[in-house]
Assembly symmetry: C2
Homo-oligomer: 478 residues x 2
């Protein structure tokens, strides 16, 4: 049904996955390049996806007791340097402001690459007593990291994200919070984005600069590459000591706080594209789709058609759905292709004959299935359809991930999979960073995480043959 002119403009996924991705970003009008190297313009359709992500995630943050704040976008160089590991990790990739107006600054400022140092500085001012704890703060801002290469959403000099920063009285509370928010991310991916993830801990090598432990959710793209989709860090009291964040406990003794941070960014839009999309364009999960249902009136000039279509729109909207009606003079085939490209979950056609039969025709974006739907109780039917689409997308993505998850018991198998079968590789590891680096050097594969769900695949490390301590998910990553 889809108009060839539009569809032919997308490169096929199998032919050139990177070009397919770029084509979708452009043709679905998600983002555009800007005049600034590595910075993108997020267009209305792309931003509406982010707004839906933000709205739902923010509601969960608030339900779990978090409050939003806003820190400055600049960090003085001396403040960035206060925590040794942190500055080493970030200083090489920040943008530096050296002049304000006509004057050269006495101390240069970096544009925040992440805001641990700013939150710590503030916490050292506002935390005095155990009554001030916990502090459960979050902010929705953009951050800047001076990347050499860039791709819209996946890797860019500036990107949008939320960063949670919390301070707790005890190490146990901080660890609970770290895992609570990792679970929030995993549940959010499953329930709102229809993306299954693998949850686990990062190795020391992949740990966040300054963290005691970093946890991650990893998702698998259509091309078999992994994408780190959200991280949650336990800082212990390392930052508290560097920034002197102390509170007096109930016995009036000074103690250091224990901190966490956690973040999810516009990268996740890249994951949505690459987990669900196909050669006709985007396929959006219903829960965050800017338009859940597009109504295309057929034979619009016939009396009553447009009125009935508008009444249908109103009925669906009153049921809480996000609906668009396209009554433009474009050809139906053109419209169909356009909304396929944009990944609208359900298309509804309604024409004179449908109205006669008290029905409309639905077409699902996820599997192309068409069906007649009675106009009686249509809102409930469409809601059920959207729920089914969500479930089907999640099942499909889970199947894809499982099919692309391989097991290697020795390094020959590992190398062969790495070369021929893009996906996750489950393999045992000795726990040595040197061994991990050797694997990367030889295969371009990195450790994605030490999953919470451990399996015993072999007794020895897949690379060095020494005693294995952990099963690790490995993969090539974005």
């Amino acid at each position: 049904m889809a108009d060839k002119k539009l569809v032919e403009q997308i490169t096929s996924m199998d032919e050139d996955f990177a070009q397919w991705y770029t084509d979708i970003v452009k043709k679905a009008e998600l983002a555009d390049y800007s005049g600034v190297r590595g910075c993108m313009v997020i267009r209305p359709y792309g931003y509406a996806i982010w707004e839906n992500i933000q709205k739902n995630l923010d509601a969960i943050f608030k339900k779990t007791g978090h409050e939003n704040v806003c820190m400055p976008m600049f960090i003085p160089e001396s403040l960035l340097q206060k925590e040794k590991d942190h500055v080493e990790g970030f200083a090489p990739e920040v943008a530096w402001v050296t002049h304000g107006g006509q004057e050269e600054l006495a101390e240069r400022l970096c544009v925040r690459p992440t805001s641990e140092t700013l939150f710590c500085d503030h916490y050292s001012n506002v935390i005095q007593s155990y009554r001030d704890l916990p502090k459960l703060y979050n902010q929705w801002v953009s951050v800047v990291r001076w990347e050499k290469t860039s791709r819209p959403f996946l890797r860019s000099v500036e990107f949008l994200w939320q960063e949670g920063h919390t301070a707790h009285a005890t190490a146990e509370e901080a660890q609970e919070e770290t895992l609570r928010m990792l679970n929030v991310y995993a549940d959010f991916c499953r329930d709102y984005l229809a993306i299954p993830v693998v949850m686990g801990q990062k190795t020391d090598k992949e740990r966040f600069a300054g963290a005691k432990a970093t946890y991650t959710i990893e998702s698998l793209m259509h091309d078999g590459k992994a994408l780190q989709s959200g991280t949650s860090h336990n800082f212990g009291d390392g930052f508290a000591k560097a920034f002197n964040i102390q509170y007096s406990n109930k016995d009036n003794k000074l103690e250091y706080v224990h901190q966490t941070s956690w973040g999810m960014s516009t990268r996740i839009i890249g994951a949505i594209i690459m987990v669900h999309g196909d050669d006709n364009g985007l396929i959006l999960p219903p829960n965050i789709a800017p338009v859940q249902v597009v109504i295309v009136p057929v034979a619009m000039h016939k009396p009553g058609v447009l009125d009935r279509a508008n009444a249908l729109k109103e009925e669906l909207e009153n049921a809480g759905l996000r609906v668009k009606i396209d009554a433009s003079d474009k050809m139906p085939g053109w419209k169909f292709a356009e909304y396929e490209m944009k990944g609208v979950p359900v298309r509804i056609e309604i024409g004179p004959r449908d109205i006669e039969n008290n029905q409309c025709m639905s077409a699902r974006r996820d599997n192309g299935e068409k069906a007649a739907i009675s106009l009686d109780g249509v809102a409930d039917s469409v809601k059920a359809l959207l729920a089914d689409i969500h479930n089907n997308m999640l099942a499909k993505a889970t199947k894809l991930r499982d099919e692309k998850t391989y097991t290697a018991t020795n390094f020959d198998e590992f190398t062969s999979i790495a070369e021929n079968k893009p996906g996750f590789i489950k393999a045992m590891w000795c726990g040595d960073t040197e061994c991990e680096e050797a694997i990367k050097d030889k295969t371009a594969v990195t450790s994605r995480c030490i999953p919470f769900e451990q399996e015993h695949i072999a007794d020895t490390c897949v690379h060095c043959g020494k005693k294995a301590t952990k099963m690790v998910y490995w993969g090539k990553a974005y």
Copy 2:
């Protein structure tokens, strides 16, 4: 009733208005200073006010057909320079990024002080035909202007705002949009913030850099100073010519688009403080108050009190109100002072005797009035109370503004008012920029706007005595 310890920490408004303002910002926990000169930390309570402003204003923007986007935070120097007046206005007050990572940049980037140039650059890419118009875009971001002096919310190096940027086929549509959004701001101030404004046009001298016409809403603070609370600009086709933004019209001829921009910022939180506050702290308009009702249980240890208070909270929340219950072990007097400081519109006390009488006691923050409220239909009663508080706050602020609005028919009167009676001065003006500058040099008073509602006060200019062309609102401004 209020606890003296808390209240005594605020400087009285009459004694030192600037210190009173700073005290409120700090004691009500709206914002804190950061380690970066001129940049503030917006704390949870302050940010929650901004979130309520954002949520309501954004809904109005969407209802009037606007879409949100996100442009980069950086502007290359060459892009900033494309429109001559614009760069002259902003270049002296921007922050310059000169280094990315370890490298010096070939071209320096400024951190956006406003985003006309970025929107124009994007519009020149995405606008081709009349079918692409109008473009009605908005973004919620922070901007940076290298101010020498700073005060939280009122003037800071970085501040949060929204900036609308639109492109239209005709000059008429652009002018309609400019005034539509000015009206949106004025209505929003009245209906959500209980702030009355004067609407009008800026003089040429006060016009936005690059605009053909700038319109403004001006509000009057408790100390008689004016605050520009929102602006809307008509750019004509000036930017379109500088950035070559052309579309082919229905006759397939190329034409330049006509553009507007409009913005409201976190400055408006400064206006809320200074229009409504008193010597006991903040007084928040109910429609944007993070907490509309605080419930303070009395004699909490008595059986049933806390349960009844919680049931009341739930009932009010189910009616859509934002409610907090304070069941902490602080003394009631302390709690009362704290929520007065934080400007919570309604305090409800409920104790054993109230429960016996099937009632609770309400106290209004705006006028201190107390009353018993029946627990039957309590949600409707509280809603009516909040509506009355809003109306009373608006009436009070309007009365204050009117009382502090003076008329001058000659320059002696003008000078005398400027020296002795802080407020708006209505006076006739010849239309000459030189005359306007002379008035400023002599009295430190600037033109606030040429109001839409013109009055004929005299035939001649209040300063030079030449024929008057306009009645102008003058005042000292933040």
